[in-house]
């Protein structure tokens, strides 16, 4: 499902003394099947932007196209349910939305709301619990008895159970330990590769964006200031600095290596493995020379 934002603007509390412009003239095209990262500082408008991707907020200016559905400022839109089923959002700290008596029921909440039959919803819940690496016993437990990391997974399962074709993630790893962080990010990556999901990752972690995304957009003061391939964006350290962002660690390491080496590498490496390989090749070549 293609998502397109055209000259989108959004102001909170419009028409009151508390009016606050959160988004200004945002243009962004997210083709079906891409892994889009949206990066920005706190207060840059990321979270506001994200809520437009599921029609939770309606733009006060411009147009948001979610597949066939067109949402324009100042126009009423009816029946948002189908689009909400296709676009799943994992909010920041999603464990705060758990409510049901058992984990199983909580995971089934979403699918049941969208009219999936109960046995199918249960099948999905069981499959997801396994896929997310949770022990089967948790299904019958109260979600409030689980550990923080487990609650997070259950909440994510609750969104995945709707079988959306687009997955929007708002800082999905915030507050997790490094191991849990990596496991969850790997899980999303697997879904992206195996199921062909479109993923939109809202984050301030340059590392996650560099490692997983194939398209990157930078938000700054409510505007989408840069957008393109990760290699372009992360290679352009001057622009990044202008938006008070620094390049991912792996890029900074490569730059340092290049300074010591005296000439740049052929390409920008965005994962540690890739950079290690490139550095190894160079070192071997230099030694043999």
């Amino acid at each position: 499902m293609d998502i397109e934002l055209q000259q989108v603007g959004y102001a909170y509390s419009k028409g009151t003394p508390f009016e606050k412009q959160a988004l200004t003239d945002v243009n962004l095209h997210i083709p079906s099947g891409s892994y889009q990262a949206i990066i920005g500082h706190t207060g840059s408008g990321k979270s506001t932007l994200l809520q437009h991707l599921n029609a939770l907020l309606k733009p006060t200016e411009g147009t948001v196209k979610l597949g066939d559905l067109e949402i324009q400022a100042k126009k009423k839109v009816k029946n948002l349910k189908p689009v909400r089923q296709k676009i799943g959002i994992v909010f920041q700290f999603p464990e705060h939305q758990l409510f049901d008596e058992t984990v199983l029921k909580d995971i089934m909440f979403g699918p049941l709301n969208f009219g999936v039959p109960a046995d199918e919803a249960e099948r999905r819940a069981r499959a997801l619990v396994e896929q997310l690496g949770l022990p089967e016993e948790v299904l019958e437990k109260s979600p409030f008895d689980l550990s923080g990391g487990q609650m997070r997974r259950v909440a994510i399962a609750g969104v995945l159970a709707m079988e959306p074709s687009v997955l929007v993630l708002d800082e999905p790893t915030a507050g997790l330990d490094p191991r849990g962080r990596q496991e969850i990010m790997e899980l999303f990556h697997r879904l992206y590769v195996e199921k062909g999901l479109t993923i939109i990752l809202v984050t301030h972690s340059m590392e996650d964006a560099a490692r997983y995304a194939n398209r990157v957009a930078i938000m700054h003061e409510g505007r989408c200031v840069l957008s393109g391939e990760p290699e372009e964006i992360f290679g352009d350290e001057l622009s990044l600095a202008a938006y008070r962002l620094s390049a991912p660690r792996v890029v900074r390491l490569q730059r340092r290596f290049e300074t010591l080496l005296g000439y740049p590498l052929d390409k920008l490496c965005l994962s540690e493995e890739q950079l290690a390989f490139e550095m190894g090749t160079i070192v071997r070549k230099e030694r043999d020379f």
Partner: protein, 265 residues
């Protein structure tokens, strides 16, 4: 929806009204509520309305914003107006359609009650809009101090009030967030039958309660860690200051009251 609510919000500023001591504002509002009931004819209501608009003017809060804030209670306003309009059967008959009759006195009463209602809402809104919640509670604590003698836990009450005021916006944000998260999972509070809607409230309320209790616990721990042990011997960081403005406002109110008394029929 919630962002339109003006009740309990504070707009910082440095108008004449903003600069008043919270104590004088509280006394003013308290007395004003009584004074409002002095009005009972067109002249006195007009005076009351004029006085209220003057207050609004001095608070530098835009009138249309206040009127916007009336929206949530417009139903109540219209309802009381219609109630008086149709059920007061005195004076000349103005209009009749089948069994519906409107009398002159009914119209008068309807208008008076609506004006009274609006004036009260405006004045109390002005209080909360121009006084930060923290100074309101400070003012209240001082004003209630004499009641300590009767074993009224004044400090604790003030603390409870400031904590609840402090957490209103937080809980509102939280409600908004959880509501959106559940909406994204296909739950829908704004449509469907009454039963469906009631059912949709559960996924909203339970997480809210859970987080409210967690917050309360965190707050209690944080206060204890910083050595809070009740109001005994506690000094104040924010000192209240009573000056000529405060006297002036109360004198003005007294004048209005006297004039109303004199003009009422």
């Amino acid at each position: 929806m919630m962002e339109k609510m003006i009740f309990g919000r504070y707009i910082p500023g440095d108008s004449f009204i903003h600069k008043l001591d919270p104590r004088s504002k509280l006394i003013f509002v308290f007395l004003f509520i009584a004074v409002v009931f002095l009005a009972n004819n067109a002249v006195t209501y007009a005076l009351l309305l004029a006085f209220t608009l003057l207050t609004v003017f001095f608070s530098r809060i835009r009138l249309y914003f206040l009127i916007n804030g009336l929206k949530p209670i417009i139903f109540l306003l219209v309802f009381t107006f219609l109630l008086h309009l149709f059920f007061t059967k005195e004076g000349d008959l103005l209009w009749k359609w089948q069994f519906i009759e409107v009398y002159e006195e009914g119209l008068r009463q309807g208008i008076f009650i609506s004006v009274r209602f609006m004036v009260l809402v405006f004045i109390t809104s002005i209080l909360t809009l121009t006084t930060s919640p923290i100074s309101i509670t400070d003012g209240m604590e001082v004003l209630l101090n004499p009641f300590k003698r009767f074993k009224l836990p004044v400090h604790e009450l003030a603390l409870m009030m400031s904590i609840s005021l402090r957490f209103i916006p937080t809980l509102m944000d939280e409600t908004d967030k959880i509501m959106k998260a559940q909406m994204a999972r296909g739950s829908d509070i704004s449509s469907g039958t009454m039963k469906e809607r009631l059912k949709a409230v559960v996924p909203l309320l339970i997480p809210l309660f859970v987080s409210a209790f967690k917050r309360a616990e965190d707050l209690a721990v944080a206060m204890e860690v910083r050595g809070y042990r009740g109001g005994e011997g506690r000094t104040r960081y924010r000192q209240l200051k009573w000056d000529w403005r405060d006297y002036m406002v109360l004198v003005l109110l007294a004048v209005v009251a006297v004039v109303l008394w004199w003009l009422r029929s």
